[in-house]
């Protein structure tokens, strides 16, 4: 799962630690490609949080769903029913809907996140007066659906993770009167073990890291193309180490320069950032970008695609990152890290200061609590 799920999980735990009674209503799925039921349905606990899982069901009309998907991605506007059919066709969780219908009144606030899935588009209308929408918007075709606009307008409260996401929402639709940029946070590791990480994974050469889903929407193909061009043109010493979910499609010409470590245990992730010479964020679809925060915390410089307003905003505010516009500029950034590691480390330290000043859980939870006061 992605950043929004991680933010929700940590926020839920943080609020529970502050004395709130927190239930998480979620699916039995682990993989957002298959939405297959991998966790058992029913009630479990995650620390002080009660987790209620409901099974997903999937549509058999793949052709119809694919047609709608293609129309959305090509920028065509679907009518309301087609939009619902698209949303309903990926996966649906009717038992979650029914549970929430019956128990909505027991919750002072119901937080929905992210914006794109059935769980939000179908369920946010059950009790709009208690609904807090944390959309995690990206400037992508799905964000322009009418049902997304309706969710933004009808929620009682909307939480944004960054100012560019907030501005994007206003370009998309009228936004509920009570909305604010509450930000997000990442847990600060107590220590890092970069040498141990290199040794455990047999990483002998310097590397730049990509952490995230290996898929088109996250800029994977562009990264492959840009990294390939950069290492050939500038004779760079770096490998590209990649961690995360999704099949890592690697061009044959780059096979000796890409190290795919797949899904890392959570405890290993901070070390992966700390051991890297740079972290590359090629995704244009970011509403917050936890990974750049994790990189900066590990004092690793960030090289990010300027196609993301959010990441560009973070880099400009912090001074801790290099932003590239195209493959050539990506090569220049990598070359800078290879040739001026001290200056790169200096940038990274500015990034760490930025995270510590703005994105620690206590201040984010304070902002959430202030916002929830409107509902409680």
């Amino acid at each position: 799962m992605g950043g929004s799920e991680a933010v929700v999980r940590e926020a839920a735990q943080g609020l529970a630690e502050r004395g709130y009674e927190v239930d998480v209503l979620t699916t039995c799925a682990q993989d957002h490609f298959t939405w297959a039921n991998e966790f058992p349905p029913g009630v479990a606990t995650d620390g002080s949080v009660t987790v209620r899982r409901f099974p997903t069901l999937q549509n058999r009309d793949h052709h119809g769903w694919n047609r709608a998907q293609e129309k959305i991605l090509s920028g065509d506007q679907l009518d309301e029913l087609d939009e619902l059919a698209w949303s309903n066709g990926r996966f649906r969780v009717p038992d979650l809907y029914l549970y929430l219908s019956g128990h909505a009144a027991e919750y002072a606030a119901i937080v929905f996140s992210p914006y794109l899935f059935w769980t939000t588009l179908y369920c946010a209308g059950i009790a709009p007066e208690r609904t807090v929408l944390m959309p995690c918007l990206h400037d992508e075709p799905y964000a322009y659906l009418r049902s997304v606009a309706a969710a933004l307008a009808s929620a009682a409260v909307v939480w944004f993770l960054s100012e560019p996401e907030h501005q994007l929402a206003h370009r998309l639709a009228p936004v509920a009167a009570h909305h604010s940029v509450i930000g997000a946070a990442v847990k600060i590791p107590e220590s890092y073990d970069p040498d141990g990480f290199r040794e455990r994974h047999n990483l002998m050469r310097p590397y730049v890291l990509y952490a995230g889903r290996r898929e088109g929407g996250k800029g994977w193909q562009e990264l492959m193309a840009g990294f390939g061009l950069a290492v050939r043109r500038h004779h760079l010493p770096f490998d590209l180490v990649t961690v995360g979910v999704g099949h890592a499609q690697v061009p044959a010409s780059l096979e000796d320069r890409i190290v795919d470590l797949g899904y890392l245990a959570p405890g290993e992730v901070p070390d992966a950032f700390a051991a890297a010479d740079a972290f590359v964020q090629p995704s244009a679809n970011e509403s917050f970008s936890r990974t750049i925060m994790e990189a900066w915390l590990a004092e690793t410089v960030v090289i990010a695609s300027g196609a993301s307003d959010v990441v560009t905003w973070h880099c400009e505010r912090s001074g801790g990152g290099l932003v590239y516009a195209d493959e050539l500029e990506l090569g220049q950034c990598l070359r800078f890290v290879a040739q001026a590691p001290e200056q790169a480390a200096q940038l990274a330290r500015m990034g760490r200061d930025y995270v510590l000043a703005n994105y620690r859980w206590p201040s984010v939870l304070d902002a959430m609590e202030r916002s929830l006061e409107d509902l409680l």
Binding site: E80, N88, Y97, L98, Y122, P128, S154
Partner: protein, 308 residues
Amino acid sequence: MPWSARSRTSCEIERAAEPRAWQVAAVRILVVGSLPPSESARAEALRVEVVGLLAEGHTVEVVALDPVATAHRYLTMGGIPGCVRVATLVSGFDSVVVQLQPGLPVRERAGSLERNLSLVALSFALRRGRQVVIRLERLDDLPGGAGGRAALFLWRSAERIVVGGDDQRAAFFAAVGRPAEGMVIGSSREHDVHEVDADDLGWGEGTDTSAENVLELVRKRAARERRQLAASESAHFAGWDRLPASGTAFTELDSAVSQSPHGPRTPGDLARSALAVADRRPLLRPAVRVVRAGFRSARALLQPDRSD
């Protein structure tokens, strides 16, 4: 006493004020009908019914004709094929609740023969099940109305018929009479439009200016919502008769928030009036949201002075 064990002759034709008292044992129930997100009174009424059944501890599986309704499974076709599909499903359940709608069992453009065959097909399908409840939120949800011999055959396949309110119940009796000795013709559970105490919205005694601004905001949003509601109603149900009904409802809403028997009203008074009207009208569920949103917006804008 489980209703299946209840003697029919002991039942009276009455408004079932406590429908939840019928059943004591948790059972598996098949619900055939369309739940939200369709913004229709029919879908909302069924949602309330299903939530009530779940609260009683029953296990519910929902099968919908509407392909975007919230459901576990879908009927790929309505009309007679849909009835055949229902027939294959009902035997696995302890009880069946069927909400009639245009398309199930009768297609909207069905002629007289097809209508009769569809009604008989559903009757036979339901006779394979147990503890059958037929819900007819509005009589015009059944193309051709509730009367006629084929429809009577359908009504007699149910142990209980639920209609969408006292007016619909009266209309049902006018069209059908008493379908079977002792059959219960009940009204829907109360629509679960969450009640909100206007005072909980955080208003103190506002100024007249605040009230006027709030009123204007509500009117504006209600007008927009009315247009959207009209459009969606016509698209979804071809229920042209609902358009004037929705118009009337909104007029009533507007009147409630604008007419003041006691001089200038506080925003809290306005909210209370608007929500009271909206709660009485299933058609106005979207408006409830509008009103709440309006007051939230206004509250943010106006910040009534609590010191007055």
